[in-house]
């Protein structure tokens, strides 16, 4: 009785959420990293994103004979590097549902534990964010040192970068929460969902080519994808001169883009919790929480 009363108090709720987040992040870290010794795990974490970037580098180099000083190269390279966050955070949060329901079969135990489930999902995503950050850092560092990506630390607009990055990561986590919530109701193809969404966003967000390259009828899709604005802000803050070379979002000032990003982050935060609440209720009603498909 006392415990039930305690859960209802806001201070307790905050305590539960904080503990849930920390425990989930630690659990996520362990799941991701403890299958190998640290050196092998480090190599594993770095090789995959570097190979992805190297494919683009070779493609670019073959066609342009290694014109790495061209703004297009920095546009492609940095967009691809920052996009690592999308795959890590968005699919990281949503994949937790598959991980816990299908692979470890622990979701029902998470539900009966004194945790806040959406915060638990976000905490698991945080571990992926940490690994993603390592990959982003190494990819960008490799580009700067080996491929002349024009990133001068003294010219970086650090306040804009910090605010954009933070808002973007929160937005991605909330998009992941929406996707993860939907996955609670999907059994057969849930494992494809994260990849499908990340793949579609990669294509339509202008991550690796300016939106103007898309056919005219597809370009509006790029403008309604929140990640397009986030990537533009990151490019402007890190390599302003490169962003100026591509007029896709030239009609917007930095402040306007930040306002759009903040608005979208707020929207997805509300949406994330509303959709979770609905899907969570449906999943409980239909008995989906411990349904295994051997995906």
């Amino acid at each position: 009785m006392q415990a039930t009363q305690g859960i209802g108090k806001p201070a307790k709720e905050r305590g539960v959420s904080g503990r849930t987040f920390r425990a989930a992040a630690w659990l996520g870290w362990q799941i991701e990293s403890n299958w190998a010794d640290p050196l092998i795990f480090f190599i594993y974490s770095v090789i995959k994103p570097l190979s992805g970037a190297a494919i683009l580098v070779v493609m670019y180099s073959v066609i342009t004979n290694g014109a790495f000083d061209d703004p297009m190269f920095a546009y492609i390279y940095l967009g691809n590097a920052f996009y690592i966050y999308v795959a890590a955070v968005l699919t990281g949060v949503s994949w937790t549902v598959i991980d816990d329901r299908e692979i470890y079969r622990m979701l029902k135990y998470i539900y009966i534990a004194p945790v806040h489930v959406p915060v638990y999902l976000l905490g698991r995503g945080f571990a992926k964010f940490a690994f993603g950050s390592l990959a982003v850092f190494i990819t960008i560092a490799a580009g700067v040192y080996f491929l002349n990506v024009p990133l001068d630390l003294s010219l970086v607009n650090w306040p804009l970068f910090a605010v954009s990055l933070t808002l973007g990561i929160v937005m991605l986590a909330m998009m992941g929460l929406v996707l993860g919530s939907v996955m609670l109701l999907i059994v057969n193809n849930a494992n494809f969902m994260g990849e499908a969404v990340a793949g579609a966003l990669y294509l339509f967000s202008g991550a690796v080519f300016p939106l103007s390259i898309l056919p005219g009828w597809l370009q509006p899709v790029g403008y309604i994808i929140p990640i397009s604005y986030w990537l533009e802000l990151l490019r402007r803050s890190v390599v302003g001169q490169v962003a100026e070379s591509f007029p896709t979002f030239s009609q917007f000032s930095d402040i306007q883009l930040l306002a759009i990003l903040a608005g979208l982050t707020a929207l997805f935060t509300i949406l994330g919790f509303v959709v979770f609440r609905y899907c969570d209720h449906q999943a409980r009603e239909k008995g989906y929480l411990d349904r295994y498909s051997n995906f």
Binding site: V62, F192, V208
Partner: protein, 280 residues
């Protein structure tokens, strides 16, 4: 008369063939039972192909490179099938408890792997065909095949060598647990890079390309590109006939290697008690 008297029981090569057909069956029929999987397994590579095509267009590449990307995208289906449904299949079977049944049953593990290979080749071939058609229609790819017979021979040899390689690595995965997932995951992008899925392998350093040729798709794709596109030959790594000879050698090495390694690994896994071990 008892029930067992009425059931014909095969042995020897008949049992071997029956096992091959029995293991291939679920792979082929599964394709028809779960069409949504087919959709996603076509849709995801087409998204990647589209992204790479638009990158090439953004940097002003010639049309032949668009064709290269479409072919590379189709071939990713085979590589993913090798990674997730051949190499790591023994790991999945271990997780679901089937592996012990395979070992206990009076059939050959080699026949089971062959069945997986035939079933996988058929279902993945269909997916690759749809990816090629979709990519070609979406991006107006012009195929100019110079020699259909040679193209067919290269494709078949590539597949035999590739699935032989998959059978060989499947036995290595007998010993793995949760790390199997990560190793399979790790073998995606680095292989797309080393094997030149989205660019001519000739663009890499000669020795890097030569080293990557241990993966049959490297030379197979290079030869198929030379035979399928106008201007493809100029971007080829080695002459097609040389690549054909190397592919024959890879077929022999991988098929015999798979047979030997499977026996060795099975003994090792039995001795170390890895066959029923389940660590997720």
């Amino acid at each position: 008369m008892t029930l067992t008297d009425r059931v014909p029981k095969n042995s020897g090569w008949r049992l071997f063939l029956q096992t091959v057909v029995g293991r291939a069956y679920p792979r082929i029929i599964g394709l028809l039972r779960e069409l949504s999987w087919f959709f996603f397994e076509v849709f995801l590579p087409v998204l990647s192909v589209a992204a790479y095509v638009f990158i090439y267009r953004a940097i002003g590449a010639e049309d032949v490179y668009i064709g290269f990307v479409v072919m590379g995208g189709a071939m990713t289906a085979f590589w993913l099938n090798i990674l997730w449904s051949m190499s790591s299949q023994m790991y999945w079977e271990k997780q679901t408890g089937n592996l012990a049944l395979y070992i206990m049953a009076p059939n050959s593990l080699m026949a089971i792997l062959l069945g997986m290979a035939f079933g996988g080749l058929f279902s993945t071939g269909l997916r690759a065909l749809v990816i090629t058609l979709a990519g070609s229609l979406l991006f107006n790819v012009n195929f100019e095949v110079s020699n259909y017979l040679l193209l067919f021979a290269v494709f078949m040899l590539t597949m035999v060598a590739l699935y032989g390689m998959g059978m060989m690595t499947a036995s290595l995965f007998l010993l793995l647990n949760r790390e199997a997932w990560h190793y399979a995951n790790l073998a995606q992008e680095p292989v797309y890079l080393a094997s030149g899925f989205y660019f001519p392998i000739k663009s890499l350093d000669f020795w890097v390309a030569a080293g990557a040729s241990i993966i049959p798709l490297t030379l197979g794709m290079d030869a198929m590109r030379q035979l399928s596109f106008s201007g493809g030959a100029e971007l080829g790594f080695l002459p097609v006939r040389t690549e054909l000879i190397i592919l024959v050698a890879l077929c022999v090495v991988f098929l015999f290697g798979a047979r030997w390694l499977l026996k060795y690994m099975e003994r090792l896994a039995v001795r170390e008690g890895r066959l029923t071990e389940s660590r997720r």
